[in-house]
Symmetry: C2
Subunit: 341 residues, 2 copies
């Protein structure tokens, strides 16, 4: 009796390249993660060294997946931008020093003999959430990532939305407040300049300096009854650990009124950002992810409050959700991109 | 010798339904306008009456085009919204009273025996500018129409961008200034609430009232030297003709400093709107049309000044242009939509 071989499922590899670590995954067409591994990025060792280690990492996840190498269909890469998805080059002097204008697609294609695609990590994360996370089932999914910056990606009919020259939307640079701080983007008061992690930290420092100044003035003038006391400076004093968005959130949770006002302002601006995104893209789902959105519960009330009042879009058909895949969104999205190659 | 008949070119009809007039056009596949006619809308006569007159109008343009009725391929309609392009119904109690929830697609399809599509007039105008106007050659074209409101349409790869339930983007309701006036959209300080024609007129009234108040206070207190004089009220006094966006623009051109400051504010907000649209859609072309943009020269410097500083988008590849087709954009766009049916 002839043995009927179990048909082998096609698989793809996804790679997520960040400033501190590089992860790889082998995934089945059904979205099953077969294996996963990571290495430190150490970009300063140079791109050739990095490429060798990435190649070894991909071989490792394929081996650990017990996959027939012949079943590898394609490789998708999500990488901290700027990247050029058209030419396959990375040009990120900020978080990948020495990797300037390097082509990562061609050598991997030659080594593995399969199609390889490179995408911005924000687009890869959007694709991941669309495929297996909070954006599942949406025809148009807008993902907003709030962390060191505010970025994101837009998925339309299963494809990454691209503009001129393959450039992707820069969601964080909606010009939301003309009275806001100047941003490197060229405008004042864009979303990122007010509600990113560093912007919240800066808001905290500024608010404390103002309070300190008012206290000093009060003391100099010998006045009392301003309604402010040392308590208002909150548990974390200006001389303590460096301020971060995460720390502002933690202080707000502890009841620090200054931190709460900073979070409230970021939440109100974020609500206006989401409102604007909804009116422009009219998506099925808005997904909010990134480090700052770990505190989604602090942002959600302001967002829902404003969006529910939106008379222009069919808001009862539009879902707003916290991201579901955490740090794996970009990795899984990179794999999903490979299935389209 | 047998006569070789000249091959007949397929044609379509486009219809543009506005609050005051209904226009129709017969257009060849090459974009040649073969005939054009218009009638007053007179929506108050009821939809049945309107439908009969629209049917007669289409027959008239076909006759005037000397077209074989068998060559009519389809009919496209652009109509002042809200309309539902999916069901083919018009539901616009504002500018088409008595036409509430009426289906215009089914009866025209039955009468002419061809496919019929209904679109929002803003989308139709965007399609017109994309096809034959200022958006020609762009893969992604964003059209902004600034008039009584601020609306627009987005064309991607020759198709109207649609969101959930076929809803189209509401470009005028980007939330651009948290200190701006409340809007019926649910947010404060959306683009439309600051830079539409009526918003500019309201800004003019408010600025004059403020100046009048300051003058009165000055006179009551017997003070001089505030730097304000009756001249600052400008040529058009508060008691004169109703203020409109067009009138603010005209006064600004005459040198009225109050009108100039109102136009400047609208131009700065419009610049932030265009900046935001560019960062979100990364289009090849942004087209600015509508009644207020007849004064495009007053808005262009602020727009270019800000957009040229945009470090996020490939702005040297993005064109910003005044609309080219004027009031015919929606009519020609409606015809273009018919060619896709």
């Amino acid at each position: 009796m002839k043995h009927d071989p179990r048909p082998e499922e096609p698989i793809v590899a996804g790679i997520d390249i960040g400033g501190t670590k590089i992860a790889a995954v082998a995934v089945s067409a059904a979205g099953r993660m077969l294996s996963r591994a990571a290495i430190p990025t150490e970009a300063e060792r140079g791109f050739e060294d990095g490429l060798q280690r990435i190649t070894a990492l991909v071989r490792r996840v394929l081996t650990e997946a017990q996959a027939d190498p012949d079943n590898l269909r394609a490789i998708g890469i999500g990488c901290a931008g700027p990247v050029d998805p058209v030419t396959g080059t990375i040009d990120n002097p900020y978080t990948l020093p020495t990797w300037d204008g390097v082509n990562i697609v061609d050598p991997l294609r030659a080594t593995f003999g399969v199609a390889v695609a490179l995408e911005n990590d924000a687009d890869a994360a959007a694709m991941g959430e669309y495929w297996l996370g909070a954006g599942q089932g949406g025809r148009i999914v807008v993902m907003v990532t709030v962390g060191t910056g505010i970025g994101g990606g837009v998925i339309v009919d299963g494809h990454i939305y691209r503009g001129v020259d393959g450039a992707h939307p820069e969601i964080g640079h909606l010009a939301l407040d003309p009275a806001g701080p100047p941003c490197y983007c060229g405008a004042r008061g864009c979303w990122e300049s007010i509600a990113s992690g560093p912007a919240m930290a800066e808001g905290m420092r500024a608010a404390r300096l103002e309070i300190t100044g008012r206290l000093e003035t009060t003391m100099m003038l010998g006045q009392v009854g301003t309604g402010l006391s040392g308590e208002d400076l909150g548990p974390g004093q200006p001389t303590s650990a460096p301020m971060t968005g995460e720390r502002v959130v933690a202080l707000a949770r502890e009841g620090d009124p200054v931190a709460q006002s900073v979070v409230d302002r970021a939440a109100r601006v974020t609500a206006r950002g989401v409102f604007s995104l909804i009116n422009l893209y009219v998506p099925d789902v808005v997904v909010l992810g990134g480090g700052v959105m770990e505190a989604y519960d602090l942002f959600e009330p302001a967002i829902r409050n404003l969006v529910e009042r939106d008379t222009m879009a069919p808001v009862n058909r539009i879902a707003i959700r916290k991201a579901a895949l955490g740090g794996d969104a970009g990795l899984l999205g990179a794999a999903r991109i490979a299935f389209d190659l």
